[in-house]
Symmetry: C2
Subunit: 520 residues, 2 copies
Amino acid sequence: MSTTEIRRRGGRSGSEARRAARSRGQGTLAPYISRKIPYYEVLNEEGLAIIEHNADTILEEIGIDFRDDAEALQIWRDAGADVQGERVRMPRGMCRKLIQENAPREFTQVARNPERSVRIGGANTVFVPAYGCPFIHNLDDGRRYGNIEDFRNFVKLAYLSPSLHHSGGTICEPVDLPVNKRHFDMVYSHMKYSDKCFMGSVTHPERAQDTVEMAKILFGDQWIDPETGKPRTAVINLINANSPMTFDDTMLGAAKVYARNNQACVVTPFILAGAMSPVTVAGTAAQTLAEAMAGMAFVQLVNPGAPVVFGSFASSMSMQSGAPTFGTPEPALVLYVMANLARRLGVPFRSGGSLTASKIPDAQAASESANTLLPTALAGVNFALHTAGWLEGGLAMGYEKFIMDADQAGMMQTLMGGVDMSENGQAMDAIREVGPGKHYLGCAHTQANFENAFYRSPIADNNSFEQWDAEGRQDMAQRANTRWKRMLAEYEAPEIDPGVDEALQAYMRRRKESFPDSNI
Amino acid sequence: MSTTEIRRRGGRSGSEARRAARSRGQGTLAPYISRKIPYYEVLNEEGLAIIEHNADTILEEIGIDFRDDAEALQIWRDAGADVQGERVRMPRGMCRKLIQENAPREFTQVARNPERSVRIGGANTVFVPAYGCPFIHNLDDGRRYGNIEDFRNFVKLAYLSPSLHHSGGTICEPVDLPVNKRHFDMVYSHMKYSDKCFMGSVTHPERAQDTVEMAKILFGDQWIDPETGKPRTAVINLINANSPMTFDDTMLGAAKVYARNNQACVVTPFILAGAMSPVTVAGTAAQTLAEAMAGMAFVQLVNPGAPVVFGSFASSMSMQSGAPTFGTPEPALVLYVMANLARRLGVPFRSGGSLTASKIPDAQAASESANTLLPTALAGVNFALHTAGWLEGGLAMGYEKFIMDADQAGMMQTLMGGVDMSENGQAMDAIREVGPGKHYLGCAHTQANFENAFYRSPIADNNSFEQWDAEGRQDMAQRANTRWKRMLAEYEAPEIDPGVDEALQAYMRRRKESFPDSNI
């Protein structure tokens, strides 16, 4: 059977396939990944125990600063920590005990479409778009500041990407909107243009509260879980440490709001190794563990049982220029170690993604991203922020990069599905049928399996040089450019209850009007 | 301490560093990698045992064709196999036993510079340039047929790349030379322009013999190892199976020449899954194991104890077009499984590299290559052919791609060094010295360690957007273009004994003149 025959017998034409994909919505892949492959671990028990010991030494001897938050310091004092000024020293084992006795090992973040709810922790991986970029980049405009239209575009692209399980948070900063109000439009965009889970505002406790109020409106009578009597976890939020060994009042304020409402906090030491931590993997790991444990333990003191995620973000550094570097081997080693430590602690883990220092979606961007995303998959990251779009050390959100990364995330999903060891997977009938010197294209097993046998990239070019030449010699970024434009052109919004939509808009209007410099 | 200070105090200027590198030769990295990180394994004992059972079933029930080689068939008959025509069926366990009782678990391939000899097998990894490309590609010429100057250029570039441990074999086909004589010039180029290990000709038994004769001249009185009385292993050679389940007379003829001279044979089923094997990972793995075991057992029958390497090359396939696809998840799973099976068998393993279907050194090339090279490192490949230069499914050898891949191979070397758990690696003094809210740039530990703390890519751009913009907005391929040109301009050949050189040239001249269509 020729490959043309294969296509004719079993393949769908492009337009048929697109129609089918639309009618299925984005449900063709699972709402999140449940891994069937082992974890990759680089340290043995002895090495891990040393790092855990060192982290406890940091907490006990050096301590963590909780800045400008008298309530936080009082909470620590009441819990029995040694508080001197803003410095909190925790007795050896205290943070670990608080976390292990209270924090859930895994939890569900609910989406307004229940089919898109995600399970965070355990053997599960959730791929999430990039976060926090002031600029956007695409082949048409180059690099420029992001705006709310870009923000909506990326929400739509994530909604349309089966390999991305989450809508993310501050996908890009909509700098055309006032700083003190843009969180409304960001949160609303996630709610309106997608039905996947999303992240809340953390830039001020009031904005965290706004996020919670809007989630209450969105979920209505689904907000409270009747089984627990507590709010369902509908928002997940990024609480960064100011490494080394410091939490500031903004982050602590947002963490308290979310914790008290049973919303999830991802406590992440954000580390440029060499500047915010030692230049070594083991030193960075111990400090990250200490900081993350302090933050997660604090959340458990605020509201025992509130969901937390152990976050780690560690880049290496160019010792020539001081610039952060990504996709290098040292951060990958940190990632493997931290994922292992999180499993031992018994909490979900956030790290990884598709990180790069490149300004454009070139080979540097692709290899640095792959050298982050593959460890993300193998190490067992549960919440993989920055999986799609990251460029320029997080300063820019790339349209083409987003498409390329989503493709890679799809590959990771297949990889994490592992090896099919069923009778069909073993394929001994095929080997018997074909025999030496023949080919498998036409055999019964190939015909029965070819359609889903191999991951299909929508943007890789596997054609002959001649065909590629005839089609205009496009590189991958150019093909990705074509793809995101077609996706946006074909986008159809998920339905939302008009009453809920109106209530959300009314809330935003009212709150925006309450600001002195109101100019909605 | 500012980063400028860091540079001033400890950094070398570019020209100083280049001078230092030249005076050290290429010895700044180890001659090969000895891994300090665990293997990544995707299957459990049960899964591996099933595949081993299936491979034995293939050998016993279906058999392997040994084509057009009466001697090979007689060797099998004498060994007790069931030979019907060209079909050889081996009793269950026979091949495994032949291999385990005779083949070395690891061996040394000697280089003319003993410091560049490589240990193949065990915990060691050797990165080797790509092999067999008829075309070359660079940004200046685009894609064109390769010639002997290209061949020499790549030998020089591999010699100058500390992360590449080997000179490779048919780096590109020098199509400007007659087919029946170009092997002389290829082998001579490796001997003359590099002092790293190299691969021999396999396209005809006579050419294999020429390779051996030239190696004898090159090594002179070092050719025979006085301890064993046998020739040292100075050449390693690629013996591909014609999958499915076939070896042809060309490959068998070359294998016999090399085996009888104690030179190494890499027995590699070359598989485009879906065409030459079933479309499944487990089916491809069983067939690969069966074919590789048959080939390696044959070598042991020819000369018990001759070094063999278990090879696996498996690509996936576009089921739309029939084109091979690379860097997809399925071949990565095959790679992890095969490496594991090779360890269980107790022989060195060859697979992986930096494979891609892309025609140019773009993001597709980079991500597909990374998705092959990182599994190469984690799975435990011992002989990583195709690590540098591969483009277009092996049809083209890329100059820029070579530079990019060599950079990635350097990163793998660091990764495989694992985590430094020494006191200095733990860096607790640094954490104590700095404390909350400060930075590590100026601390004693950073000053003592920064120069070698992080892998430094020579072609990644980690600068600010503004600086990158001011420097011409180059992508990684353009920076790689600058680099290979500078490397070739600065190349200095390793010394070779003039008498040996003259003897090699005399041998070639004599042999070339013996061909009827001689036009040297």
